[in-house]
Symmetry: C2
Subunit: 272 residues, 2 copies
């Protein structure tokens, strides 16, 4: 990972902010003294100080002491935080919002049309350094700003730059997807228990199998269908299981899940 | 990873053998000169030599030059290989079979009742260092033998020691499971494409989401159901998708898949 010489400020220091800050430090992208934060909860500020970051009592102090401003408060507070920051934003500031459903237009309304704005849709595996995220830019944000944000998130997973109109689909796929995967891991473990395995072994084998299989897709670059074919011997155990999944209409159910979550994301953005 | 001072021999040098050998070297468990192999295909022997292992033309040379003997040939050749090795096996040898469906009794029939036999059911993510495996011991195998094999496989993932009667369920869960996960990744990506994402982005986000979510289960130690609840906001996008999965009976389908694969594994062992 390249070292970045910008100062990183977190406006809101919840779990995603913590995951990002720790990821950036652990991967050597920044040193702890390049990070500052604020949060209404003292314990969150103490936690950031515990790994060497500084903390401030006000949003404005973060604005004055950082170049990249992560807006990591709950969606309903984004407008207020950015309105407060607005008179103090300079061209050096990059405003990065990870608030679900808050569009670039909403961000620019609050932060001003001159703001360099980047909207990111991360997901919770950010907490273990394996997020699947997407981003789009707005206002005066430059390709360099986009590159910078891309580098920062690459410390905690993977990120893709897309048109904003696709961010609802990203919310439906990778934003909501972890819940779908958790449900499936639980079901695989239940299947193992049904077949006689102790619960702890079944759950560990299920989660590890899911992890390893996904890593196979990412590292081999092979199509998941081709990888499935490679492990499916004629008349063997695997094709017997695949048959059950197909009879159960599992593919259609996962497609429906992504589409339903995407539709709901679009509805929520319109209501915002 | 602890360094192991045994010599490791591969009788059969296919993909799983390669993954194991490279994993052991990469994790510092053994040095390349502790590894030897044989294989009917010269290219496989050349490949092992390319990373510093030695290769031999015969099974017997491997037996004489190694302490841990990985039987990594196709199941139908296990009997012949072990029968050839049998007169040369000594108490220092640990025979480790990764052949699907070949029971401990079959291994002891071929290798002799005095053999230290360990049967392992790994899965293909062994190739990317993330196998979910199980093992059982037989014959004169000692707890130290089991510990040794456990250490070796821990270099390429996770392994659990179980009663042999549970190995069919392991085959159904982690042995066949990668295909179930590949199918699901493809379906999640299809859902993303249905929602408007380009195929390459959809597939990468899907696979990365699956990887990160599984890592969340393994690293947090939290129940997958609890993790699902943590990312499921009231009236939000995620619960909309979860609803589709439940209406589709996805949990039952995954349980059925594991059970069907387990049943088939039991059938195949009886036929063997």
């Amino acid at each position: 990972m390249p070292h970045i010489d910008r100062r990183i400020g977190f406006m809101g220091s919840g779990q995603m902010a913590e995951a990002l800050a720790k990821g950036l430090i652990n991967r050597g992208v920044v040193t702890p003294n390049q990070i500052c934060c604020t949060d209404p909860v003292q314990a969150r500020k103490d936690l950031f100080r515990s790994f060497g970051a500084s903390s401030y009592d006000t949003t404005l102090e973060v604005v004055h002491n950082a170049d990249v401003l992560f807006v990591a408060v709950k969606p309903q507070y984004v407008g207020a935080v950015l309105t407060e920051a607005r008179p103090h934003l300079t061209p050096r500031h990059v405003v990065v919002s990870i608030a679900a459903g808050i569009t670039v237009d909403m961000l620019l309304d609050a932060a001003g049309p001159e703001a360099h704005v980047v909207r990111v849709m991360p997901n919770t595996p950010c907490l273990v350094g394996e997020t699947a995220a997407a981003m789009c830019v707005g206002g005066k944000a430059t390709p360099e700003d986009a590159e910078l944000v891309s580098t920062l998130f690459s410390a905690v997973g993977r990120i893709y730059q897309l048109d904003e109109k696709l961010l609802a689909a990203v919310t439906g796929l990778s934003g909501s997807g972890p819940a779908f995967v958790f449900l499936m891991i639980e079901a695989l473990a239940d299947g193992g228990v049904r077949a006689g395995l102790p619960r702890d072994v079944a759950q560990a084998l299920a989660a590890q199998t899911v992890l390893g299989s996904a890593k196979m897709v990412l590292e081999t670059g092979k199509h998941p269908g081709a990888l499935k074919d490679m492990v499916t011997s004629p008349g063997g155990t695997t094709i017997a299981g695949v048959h059950e999944l197909e009879m159960g209409g599992v593919r259609a159910a996962f497609m429906s899940a992504v589409v339903a979550a995407t539709n709901r994301a679009n509805e929520l953005s319109r209501m915002g």
